[in-house]
């Protein structure tokens, strides 16, 4: 338990001192994860909404597949995207390998299913309540999906936060496609992995605490926002 006290002390010192390297790593981590969440939301929520309001043969299979994709192993996703983005691969000419762009891409692939699956669940529950009234008003599938998305925006925030949590926490995908390059693609999780493998466990633990604190702050902020908006709109 000495390590924990050590680590806590190191963590506080790092944060208070405003260590430039740490700030750079934190900034990049936020940039990558938040970008990935934005992209994944733009992809995942429409898919979830479409699944919630439409009925078609094979729909149940699609839902099962989507739920299963939530459990995609990050390291496998990283490997596949590495092979796609490698110069020897089909998308090599974009030169995206070992850039933050590749990391955003990998994390988007990882969390889009989470947002889509959780979104679908929330929206389908809402659809049970809204369906008859909206059909009565002659609202078609597309408009109904948009209406649900807007009306359920507070519940959908939870799905988005789940995606953010997964993105912030993962290390396998960003390590492979980013290359953990100092100053370019080194994020919090890959730094923790590096320091651990160097044997500097107190520092790794300290960084872990900083990461958890940041994710907590993001979630708290989202919660306050949701609360305030809910009180206004009911």
């Amino acid at each position: 338990m000495d390590s924990l006290a050590d680590a806590l002390h190191t963590a506080l010192t790092l944060v208070v001192s405003g260590d430039a390297t740490l700030l750079g790593i934190v900034a990049l981590s936020l940039e990558v994860s938040l970008s990935a969440v934005a992209c994944a939301t733009l992809i995942g929520l429409p898919i979830g909404a479409a699944l919630a309001v439409t009925r078609f043969a094979g729909r149940q299979s699609v839902i099962v597949l989507l739920n299963a994709l939530m459990g995609l192993p990050p390291v496998v996703v990283g490997l596949v995207i590495y092979l796609l983005l490698s110069r020897a691969g089909p998308l090599g000419q974009f030169g995206l390998l070992f850039t933050p762009g590749a990391m955003v891409l990998a994390q988007t692939v990882l969390i889009a299913p989470i947002i889509a699956a959780l979104g679908r669940q929330a929206l389908e529950d809402a659809w049970h309540e809204y369906e008859e009234q909206l059909r009565s008003l002659d609202v078609g599938n597309f408009d109904a999906a948009l209406t649900l998305l807007w009306d359920m925006r507070f519940s959908l925030l939870t799905a988005v936060l789940a995606g953010l949590g997964r993105a912030s926490a993962e290390v396998g995908a960003v390590m492979i496609v980013g290359g953990n390059i100092d100053g370019v693609t080194r994020v919090m999780t890959t730094t923790i992995a590096l320091e651990t493998s160097k044997g500097d466990l107190p520092l790794a633990l300290a960084l872990g605490m900083v990461l958890i604190a940041i994710v907590l702050l993001l979630n708290a902020a989202a919660h306050l926002l949701k609360d305030a908006a809910q009180r206004r709109y009911g």
Binding site: F94, L96, V104, L105, G179, L194, K198
Partner: protein
């Protein structure tokens, strides 16, 4: 999904690429042990200050570094496995090969030393470890260190995998994680001196055998062959190699010390 991926990649690239295109850079594939020794943090700023070229190091195992070279995902490869490097060049993947520096491997083990491995003779030490079936941790990850370890076993007349047993633990990992494992198991392990000197989680481990010329670890640098990959940044790549083997580069290498000890010994020709 592919179309979405491409669209996303392009969209992101449009946003991210301009921000990064500001400074010229080269991608160097090197090894985890080299990076973890801290050499690059000491070495690279001098080059960047002089030339304005940023050096982006992707640190992976030697096997993966050479693979990166074959795929064209790196401009320069800097590893420490002369046999593999020679093959790389003769197969046409690399050009402009130069030896750069060497460090050495050391045999690490528990202070209690149940196998009584000590001194300057690595073959004798490995023989007693095998004889006493003392726990030995191997990286088993196609790295330069792993390749060296296998050669040393062979030289001692104990070629792997035929003499493997429960005492021989293969972790498939980098130097640091393997050292962590050895520390936790109180086992013997072959490590490069650089990583060991910077390693913080030693537990009860210490250097038991060192100084045997067979523990010599040679580093070589190559340019990925532009004939195979037209996009390779030849000019800045060659500048980097040139700087590494120049007196200035070589002196910078020699100047890197951990806990007062020099880690790497420049020997460019």
């Amino acid at each position: 999904m592919d179309l979405i991926q491409v669209a996303a990649a392009v969209a992101v690239a449009l946003v991210v690429a301009p921000a990064q295109a500001a400074r010229p850079f080269i991608t160097v594939a090197s090894t985890t042990s080299t990076e973890q020794s801290g050499l690059f943090t000491h070495l690279l700023p001098g080059f960047t200050k002089k030339t304005g070229i940023e050096v982006r190091v992707v640190a992976v195992g030697t096997g993966q570094a050479l693979d990166m070279g074959r795929r064209g995902d790196a401009d320069v490869v800097l590893v420490h496995d002369p046999v593999a490097e020679k093959k790389f060049v003769s197969a046409g993947w690399g050009v402009d090969y130069h030896p750069v520096m060497y460090n050495d491997f050391v045999l690490i083990g528990p202070r209690s030393n149940p196998a009584h491995a000590r001194g300057r003779d690595i073959s004798a030490a490995l023989k007693t470890i095998h004889a006493t079936q003392a726990t030995f941790v191997s990286r088993a990850d196609r790295s330069g260190t792993h390749a060296a370890e296998l050669r040393l076993w062979k030289m001692a007349g104990l070629a792997m995998p035929s003499v493997k047993g429960a005492w021989y633990r293969e972790t498939g990992s980098g130097m640091g994680p393997a050292l962590n494992t050895a520390s936790a198991m109180n086992a013997y392990i072959l490590a490069d001196r650089g990583t060991w000197l910077s390693f913080g989680n030693r537990g009860d481990l210490a250097i038991l055998v060192q100084g045997d010329p067979r523990l010599f670890n040679q580093y070589g640098v190559m340019l990925v062959n532009p004939a195979k990959h037209a996009h390779v940044k030849q000019a800045p790549g060659r500048r980097f190699i040139g700087w590494l083997i120049s007196p200035e580069g070589q002196q910078t290498i020699a100047g890197y010390k951990v806990r007062g000890e020099q880690l790497f010994f420049p020997n460019a020709r």
